[in-house]
């Protein structure tokens, strides 16, 4: 994931890595959504209202009356901001809105470079990203009981009791810091790319 796409021999099937670029971007979006959820959750935990507390106590007394869990709506603001950055630096919306079928692999590949270079810049400038696991992918790993099941997901023959031993398929990514630019409250975030008129 960290390899520089420029170092790959040029005659490598160009479509493959433009697909790779797609995957990277999709992953990026997934990460962002995950980040948003995490953030919302943290905010919710910090602001428990007294009425909620009471109802929780009531719950303990009377477990039959269970309330459905609350889910937080994420505000779209930082998603819009990120989208604007990805359009500005990486031309992401242009890229995704164009019909790739009508262009040759070379053309798609050339455009993918713009997207890759720009998206990478956005990623590195605005997020600090580290792998969750420091081990090499492919190594054997044993998880003791009580491991953090949000940090690491089990797959395959998930039976029996911990410790679980298996092969590390993906190291995972954790965003340790978000450093998005500040936004003026009067700025219309939905205008992710203004039209341009050359006079």
């Amino acid at each position: 994931m960290n390899t520089d796409i420029n170092t790959i021999v040029l005659n490598l099937d160009i479509l493959h890595y433009s697909l790779g670029g797609f995957a990277l971007l999709l992953l990026l979006l997934v990460i962002i959504l995950a980040v948003k959820k995490g953030g919302g959750g943290a905010g919710g935990a910090g602001s428990i209202e007294p009425s909620q507390l009471q109802s929780e106590q009531a719950q303990q007394q009377n477990p039959v009356q269970e309330k459905p869990p609350q889910f937080n709506e994420t505000s779209g603001d930082s998603a819009l901001q990120l989208l604007a950055l990805l359009q500005q630096e990486a031309r992401l919306i242009d890229f995704l809105e164009e019909d790739a079928k009508t262009f040759s692999d070379a053309e798609v590949g050339a455009a993918a470079r713009v997207v890759h270079d720009g998206a990478r810049k956005v990623l590195h400038e605005n997020f600090s990203i580290n792998p969750i696991r420091s081990e090499e992918e492919g190594t054997q790993l044993t998880l003791e009981s009580g491991f953090n099941n949000q940090e690491i997901r089990l797959s395959g023959n998930v039976v029996g009791e911990a410790p679980f031993t298996g092969q590390l398929i993906h190291r995972g990514w954790r965003v340790s810091q978000v450093n998005l630019p500040k936004v003026n409250p009067e700025h219309e975030l939905s205008l992710v790319a203004p039209a341009e008129l050359e006079v």
């Binding site: 978000v178 500040k182 700025h187 050359e198």
Partner: protein, 679 residues
């Protein structure tokens, strides 16, 4: 518009500030006080763990919470292409760079550690006021004209170059123009409302000061130890203009430092006490500083004072307008020519993208030797990215031929930069270096510094090398430069003697931030901590005197040069009072031609030069003095001496002194009107 730092500052005292600070400390990270434009920070929380980190880290609170001894050593690198501010607590602590809030895009404010030195003068209809607001209070918004500085100015200015001001600093160092005249951008029609190089400097400084105040409201910038860097090649007027710009926005505490010296201070700071093991008495350090727009050269000697090592700057090079940006542009032209051979037409806007692409491709190629070529894509302007983009490649060969051979050619130490005769210039322009060969400029610098031609080739033999500037991140360019120097050194100075040893390269310098860090460290040193580089003026100064001879029609009377300031005057010192008296007419402006020399280091005050080698003396702006009529009759002739001194901040000051009563008048630098018309 630049006056706001002068207002209300002096009335604040420390106790006021610290009281103001207390509630802020309690409430943790509160961004700004009421009068500042509010800027939302979009949701920053990333789960519990990292949020806790955010609270603990002082960098992220965005505001200085230390309300005790709020004094910092601050350094400002006012670069041709970037400005950087570095600081460290005077009491000791880590050296950091200041995040500088700037418009990234209308309505969006980012905080990178550099402020690109670009100004965009927008059209009234182009942006709304609120979109250009920065996260600090702007005084008197109605009369304030819209000026964008920094990242967005550069990005948007590349699309509307007519309204973009760049390289203003180079104009400051360019004699023959009035730097307080509003003439930038040069090619803009008058309706754009031009701005002077001086005002541009004020603008960058007040932007940096505002960014500082937003972060350290309890420690205003005018109360810190502040150093601003200038190129070593800046003449007295350019230095004076820089300090005047700082003072005009209330920064009366600023002093000047030459950039190559700052780079060495940056290295000294990184080494700590270790530097004494790495340098020896007798070493001559060559500082090669290739920035974005200029190349600056200096020699610094390692000497002994008492039992301690001391540093002494012995020579500075000419002002060479040649830097990393030229390299990227050159590559872009190489690629453009290649594409045009293939029958593709390159529009102007594509050249911008090409330059940008070349910069990145160049960096990849010079860092990774296994790459043979790197693709460059110039994205379309319209929304069709796959259909409208232009793809090409930059090969290793092209980079090496263009950059290594073009800018760092292997030359002999006797080489001189090629100077074409300039075609008659009909309008103002910057004197860009005509020869891109940095090696030749360096050879000429080293050769010119050896005044006694004992043996050919004679030149100053440095023993230690310090690189500065992002260009030298590429090892191949640094190696070529080093190889060249070592070739020159290995040649025997005289028959039967051995060549000098290879250069020792000072390691561990931070190529991008060394100047700002070094300037901050110098502020710290000025406070009495650590070794100070002794330097003084790198030039001697002369006034022109017309020789007394009968008028010959068609011939200008030959000029003689009368030395009024010797080489090596330290800050805060004054030259001897010269004997020569000049008769000045009361109530009229008297002008003198003014010269400097970086080569004649032995001349003393009062020496009269009847002739000199070509290139030995350089003519500067005229100097002029206006004697007020107070108590004297207009038209009366008064005898005065011209005395030079160096102020505490590092600018040259000239005064006319009356031998009768010791009265003093300030002598000003002035731009000759004809020079303006010619240039």
């Amino acid at each position: 518009m630049f006056s706001r730092f002068t207002k209300g500052r002096s009335s604040k005292n420390d106790t006021d500030n610290s009281e103001k600070q207390k509630p802020k400390q309690a409430s943790g990270e509160e961004l700004s006080e009421a009068p500042a434009a509010t800027v939302d920070e979009t949701d920053k929380s990333v789960g519990d763990a990292s949020q806790r980190e955010d609270h603990d880290s002082p960098v992220d609170t965005g505001i200085d919470t230390n309300n005790e001894e709020n004094t910092y050593a601050v350094g400002i690198d006012l670069g041709t292409t970037h400005c950087v501010l570095a600081y460290m607590p005077l009491a000791g602590g880590a050296l950091q760079t200041l995040p500088i809030a700037q418009i990234k895009d209308p309505g969006i404010v980012s905080e990178p550690s550099q402020l690109p030195s670009f100004i965009y003068l927008p059209h009234e209809e182009e942006f709304s006021d609120s979109e250009l607001r920065l996260p600090w209070a702007q005084q008197d918004e109605v009369s304030q004209r819209k000026i964008i500085s920094g990242e967005f100015a550069r990005a948007h200015g590349s699309k509307s170059p007519m309204r973009l001001v760049s390289s203003a600093k180079s104009w400051l160092g360019h004699s023959g123009v009035n730097c307080k005249e509003d003439f930038l951008p040069l090619d803009a029609p008058d309706e754009v409302g031009k701005i002077s190089p001086f005002a541009v400097t004020q603008q960058y400084l007040s932007h940096l000061a505002a960014a500082w105040e937003a972060r350290f409201p309890a420690s205003p910038l005018d109360q810190q130890m502040l150093t601003i860097t200038v190129p070593a090649s800046f003449d007295p007027l350019a230095r004076e203009l820089t300090i005047e710009a700082a003072q005009s926005i209330g920064l009366h505490n600023a002093v000047l430092l030459e950039e190559p010296q700052a780079a060495l201070y940056g290295w000294l700071h990184k080494q700590g006490e270790n530097w004494r093991q790495q340098l020896q008495v007798g070493n001559t350090i060559l500082v090669v500083d290739v920035g974005g727009g200029t190349t600056d050269l200096s020699l610094i000697n390692v000497t002994e004072s008492g039992a301690e090592l001391a540093l002494e700057r012995s020579a500075v090079g000419e002002h060479i307008l040649l830097g990393g940006d030229n390299m990227d542009l050159t590559l872009a032209y190489v690629i453009k020519a290649k594409l045009e051979k293939e029958g593709k037409k390159i529009e102007n806007w594509q050249l911008q993208g090409l330059t940008h692409g070349c910069r990145h491709a160049k960096e990849s190629l010079l860092l990774d030797e296994s790459l043979s070529c790197v693709p460059i894509v110039v994205p379309s302007r319209g929304s069709s990215l796959m259909g409208g983009s232009l793809r090409t490649e930059l090969s290793r060969e092209e980079v090496l031929n263009t950059l290594v051979e073009g800018f760092f050619p292997e030359v002999d130490v006797t080489a001189q930069p090629v100077r074409r005769r300039r075609a008659a210039l009909t309008k103002k322009s910057l004197p860009f270096a005509q020869d891109p060969g940095i090696s030749r400029h360096l050879a000429a610098f080293l050769s010119s510094q050896q005044s006694s031609p004992v043996a050919a080739p004679s030149f100053v033999r440095p023993s230690v090398l310090l690189f500065n500037g992002g260009v030298f991140k590429s090892e191949q360019l640094a190696d070529r430069m080093l190889g060249n120097l070592n070739n020159w050194l290995s040649a025997a100075p005289n028959e039967g003697e051995e060549g000098a040893a290879e250069l020792k390269v000072l390691q561990g310098a931070d190529l991008d931030h060394a100047v700002a860090s070094g300037a901050a460290y110098y502020s710290h040193v000025r406070n009495g901590n650590g070794v100070k580089i002794r330097g003084g003026t790198a030039r001697s100064y002369y006034v022109g005197i017309e020789s007394a001879m009968p008028a010959v029609p068609g011939f200008e009377p030959p000029m003689q040069a009368y030395c009024i300031a010797p080489y090596g005057m330290e800050e805060g010192s004054q030259a001897d009072l010269p004997e020569e008296e000049f008769g000045l007419v009361v109530g009229e402006q008297a002008c003198f031609r003014f010269y400097s020399s970086s080569l004649r280091k032995e001349d003393s005050v009062g020496q009269l030069l009847e002739d000199w080698q070509e290139g030995e003396l350089e003519e500067l702006e005229d100097i002029s003095v206006n004697l007020p009529a107070e108590g004297k009759h207009p038209g009366e002739v008064v005898a005065v001496h011209l005395q030079a001194g160096v102020s505490e901040v590092g600018t040259l000051k000239l005064e006319a002194v009356s031998p009768e009563d010791g009265k003093r008048w300030k002598v000003e630098f002035s731009v000759r009107e004809e020079a303006l018309a010619e240039a």
